[in-house]
């Protein structure tokens, strides 16, 4: 049985290590913060200028001066520090963030990532995604294995404009966990009762190992 969104997020949380500084993308990746082990010391970075992002505020705690990169109201923690945008991206670009978990439209077998635009449709912009994939130490993509039309999102080559070239380390989908390795995509783990045959059928990218 393929993982649902919650199980995907829970699986992605296993990518965390104690002491990590982590940036979570908008969408499913945000859910990962619900599955951080209680005894882990994890610090979330929000690229609009905050290290040590806390949970959403209660109604009383709402502060218009305190939002995350998705423009949602959030709270601070004891450990929190604030800084400007260039300082925030110095952290990102300089490789000081251990892990980023991001959504994607497509990932290629060489680790190319496309998640910012669909030509012909309205273009909203890449925000901080290109900086994150270029700078963060490890990039994990969290996405459905197939798009709404049932087509594989794990491709030999991305068809959409890229966010980054050869930047993805691991992909977690509803079907399992996959690594970008020499020669293609390696199956690391399958969701319960998901068969290799199903994965082969639903994956356009070259599967190796």
């Amino acid at each position: 049985m393929p993982w649902d969104r919650s199980k995907m997020a829970a699986r992605a949380a296993l990518e965390l290590e104690d002491g990590f500084y982590v940036n979570l993308g908008i969408g499913i990746p945000t859910l990962v913060s619900n599955y951080v082990p209680a005894d882990y010391d994890i610090t979330l970075q929000s690229e609009n200028g905050m290290l040590g992002m806390g949970p959403f505020p209660t109604e009383d705690e709402i502060d218009p001066d305190l939002i995350n990169a998705g423009k949602q109201t959030v709270t601070e923690l004891d450990r929190t520090s604030y800084f400007s945008s260039s300082q925030s991206f110095a952290m990102v670009r300089g490789g000081h963030i251990n892990l980023s978990i991001l959504g994607a439209m497509e990932v290629s077998e060489t680790g190319d990532l496309a998640n910012w635009m669909i030509p012909g449709r309205l273009v909203k912009g890449m925000g901080g995604a290109m900086d994150l994939v270029a700078g963060v130490q490890r990039i994990v993509v969290l996405m459905d294995h197939a798009n709404k039309a049932g087509e594989s999102k794990l491709l030999k080559k991305c068809t959409l404009p890229l966010t980054g070239q050869a930047v993805v380390d691991r992909i977690i989908t509803n079907l399992g966990v996959f690594d970008v390795v020499e020669g293609g995509i390696k199956v690391v783990e399958l969701a319960p009762e998901v068969a290799m045959d199903e994965v082969r059928q639903k994956t356009e990218a070259t599967l190796v190992g």
Partner: protein
């Protein structure tokens, strides 16, 4: 020689001209120079090139300048919250130059710091790098990005003093310090003008040298995504 002005309109006196470039602080609607944007709308200045991470929403923030088609070009990383923007863009009335968020922040910082160009891995292998110079350092490819210097910077801080020293509050800081350095002229609006000497000298995020004019304004501080948890 006083830097303190009465309001946005007087602070902008003699500064605006059609076709000028403006750097505007803020992230989404957080930490935006609300009063200065409204005053530029009122002034009706045209053909603006605006560098700002976002373009506001239809009826607030930089969106106000789109209503009367005052903007010719935006330099932004994300404009998803603005329908008016999309209409004008698709109608060919508005140019957009997308910059990765970190590249935009660094371009503004570089422009303010006298650095005309720097290399970054961000965007290499994507259309962002097309037409730009690539260079290898230690076996890895980087793209040359240019510093940005703008005719005017409009920024918003929490507290400021008559010397132009500014301090920001929480994530309302965002792009404001970078914009402050990148303006040939920088105008700051603050929630409160405080006596010189009362700001914590170790927490003056923008030293007064970057600020030519300052005024105290009223701020609505609209929230874009009001997200809460149960108490």
């Amino acid at each position: 020689m006083g830097k303190v002005y009465q309001d946005a309109a007087s602070a902008l006196d003699g500064i605006l001209f059609d076709g000028m470039s403006i750097a505007a602080g803020g992230f989404g609607l957080c930490g935006i120079p609300e009063n200065l944007i409204q005053a530029i709308k009122d002034a009706g200045t045209k053909r603006l090139t605006v560098a700002s991470n976002n373009a506001g929403v239809d009826d607030f923030g930089l969106g106000l300048l789109l209503q009367d088609k005052q903007v010719k070009k935006m330099i932004s990383s994300y404009v998803g919250e603005n329908d008016l923007f999309m209409q004008q863009y698709l109608a060919g009335q508005l140019e957009i130059e997308f910059n990765p968020q970190g590249t935009l922040a660094e371009r503004l910082r570089a422009g303010g710091a006298g650095i005309p160009g720097f290399y970054t891995a961000t965007g290499v292998g994507t259309e962002i790098a097309e037409g730009k110079e690539l260079k290898e350092f230690d076996g890895k490819t980087y793209v040359l990005e240019r510093g940005l210097k703008m005719d005017l910077a409009i920024i918003k801080a929490w507290k400021g003093d008559a010397q132009g020293n500014l301090t920001y509050r929480r994530t309302a800081m965002n792009f404001n310090p970078e914009c402050a350095t990148a303006g040939k002229v920088t105008i700051a609006e603050v929630e409160e003008i405080v006596p010189v000497g009362s700001l914590d000298k170790m927490a003056i995020h923008t030293p007064g040298v970057y600020v030519q004019r300052i005024f105290q304004g009223a701020h609505e501080k609209r929230i874009e995504q009001r997200t809460t948890r149960a108490a």
